[in-house]
């Protein structure tokens, strides 16, 4: 899953750093992701993983790092599916 997240960040995150060198818990906003870029990342993740982030997840902390994105997607895809 994290490889797919990295690919989406490469395409939509507009990071100033190479996403491959970024640790899973690296701060994406510090790596240059703007608020508008995070919206594009969110929409691309929804398409890729066939999920819809509920309103409570549409906030900065959920999209802060590869690890936090991955945790949110796991929560949405596990349990009841």
């Amino acid at each position: 899953m994290k490889d797919k997240i990295r690919e989406i960040l490469r395409q939509h995150g507009r990071l100033s750093k190479d996403v491959d060198t970024l640790p899973d818990d690296g701060d994406l906003y510090e790596a240059g992701m703007t608020s508008h870029a995070s919206v594009n990342v969110m929409l691309a993740l929804e398409g890729q993983f066939d999920i819809e982030f509920p309103d409570r997840m549409l906030k900065r902390s959920v999209f802060q790092s590869i690890a936090s994105i991955s945790a949110a997607i796991e929560e949405l895809t596990s349990g009841g599916g």
Partner: protein
């Protein structure tokens, strides 16, 4: 009374008193002489307050170059509020077709094409493209007013489609811009309390479009980029913003290439007085007849009278 019926009833009072004049389009009004006098007096009070701030006064027509508008990112955030100017650019044949559609009561607007201009969505938008380059030492302060357009038809008199914003825009380094905004929250509050408005400061977010907009709004609040001074007009639960303070980080400066004197990308912030809303808040708070307002308020607004 629900908020909606309170708004409608306040609007009816304003129209009956000739403070506002209806045009047949919700949110678009003529203003009577008494309304305009209050607005001009508050404007003068702001001018007196900022007289020694060293601002450059500017004025733009209420339209913006479409290219600047496209570059600003407005359509990413607020496509639902934007107003773009279209005009007929056809020949005789298209003119005939347009008139036929018009006569038949059908949609004739398909014969219009986009022009090079859009309606100004916020007073500061024409400023940033005009400031490309290097700011003087200490940055800049701009003082302007503009008619602004937002496509949000409503019977709430405080939600007009076209309204005036008096704006101050600060362009400088990060620390100076943040300090300026902080000082002005106090200053704005004092100014509004002076004219007897029960105003208070609230964190705020812009009305961003769609689900992505929820994220943008949450980010704006988490980063404390926007504050408003609000006052109850038609509802205590949903007070109306009469001033807003917006910190743009380096968004506009990086988009339009504005640097501080030391060559780094500038930061910008603006504050806006919602001029019509301030007049409406005064009318709601003190009554529809300014001659009967408390003398403490009248002395501030009509100091020589």
């Amino acid at each position: 009374m629900t908020a909606e019926s309170a708004e409608k009833s306040f609007l009816d009072d304003l129209v009956r008193s000739r403070l506002l004049v209806e045009t047949g389009v919700p949110g678009v009004y003529g203003r009577g002489a008494v309304f305009e006098d209050i607005l001009a007096r508050f404007d003068a009070l702001v001018s007196a307050t900022v007289a020694n701030d060293g601002a450059e006064k500017l004025h733009f027509p209420p339209i913006l170059a479409r290219k600047s508008f496209e570059k600003s990112g407005y359509l990413k955030s607020f496509p639902h509020l934007a107003g773009s100017v279209f005009a007929f650019q056809g020949k005789d044949a298209e003119h005939q077709q347009l008139l036929q559609k018009l006569e038949a009561g059908e949609d004739w607007t398909a014969f219009l094409k986009a022009t090079d201009v859009v309606l100004t969505p916020a007073g500061c938008y024409p400023v940033y493209p005009s400031m490309r380059g290097t700011l003087p030492e200490g940055g800049k302060l701009i003082d302007l007013w503009a008619y602004c357009f937002r496509h949000e038809p409503s019977d709430d008199p405080a939600r007009m489609q076209m309204f005036r914003m008096r704006e101050l825009i600060r362009l400088a380094d990060l620390e100076s811009v943040k300090a300026w905004r902080q000082t002005w929250i106090e200053r704005g509050l004092a100014l509004l309390e002076d004219i007897g408005l029960p105003a208070y400061v609230a964190p705020a977010n812009d009305p961003f479009f769609g689900r992505g907009g929820r994220m943008l709004a949450a980010a704006q609040r988490e980063q404390e980029l926007k504050f408003e001074i609000v006052v109850p007009i038609c509802s205590a639960d949903r007070p109306t913003a009469i001033m807003s303070f917006n910190y743009h980080q380096d968004h506009f400066a990086s988009t339009f290439g504005i640097q501080t004197a030391d060559g780094s990308t500038a930061h910008t912030a603006c504050l806006g007085f919602g001029m019509e809303r301030i007049v409406l808040a005064l009318l709601k708070t003190h009554g529809l007849r300014p001659a009967e307002w408390p003398s403490s308020v009248r002395d501030k607004l009509w100091p020589s009278a």
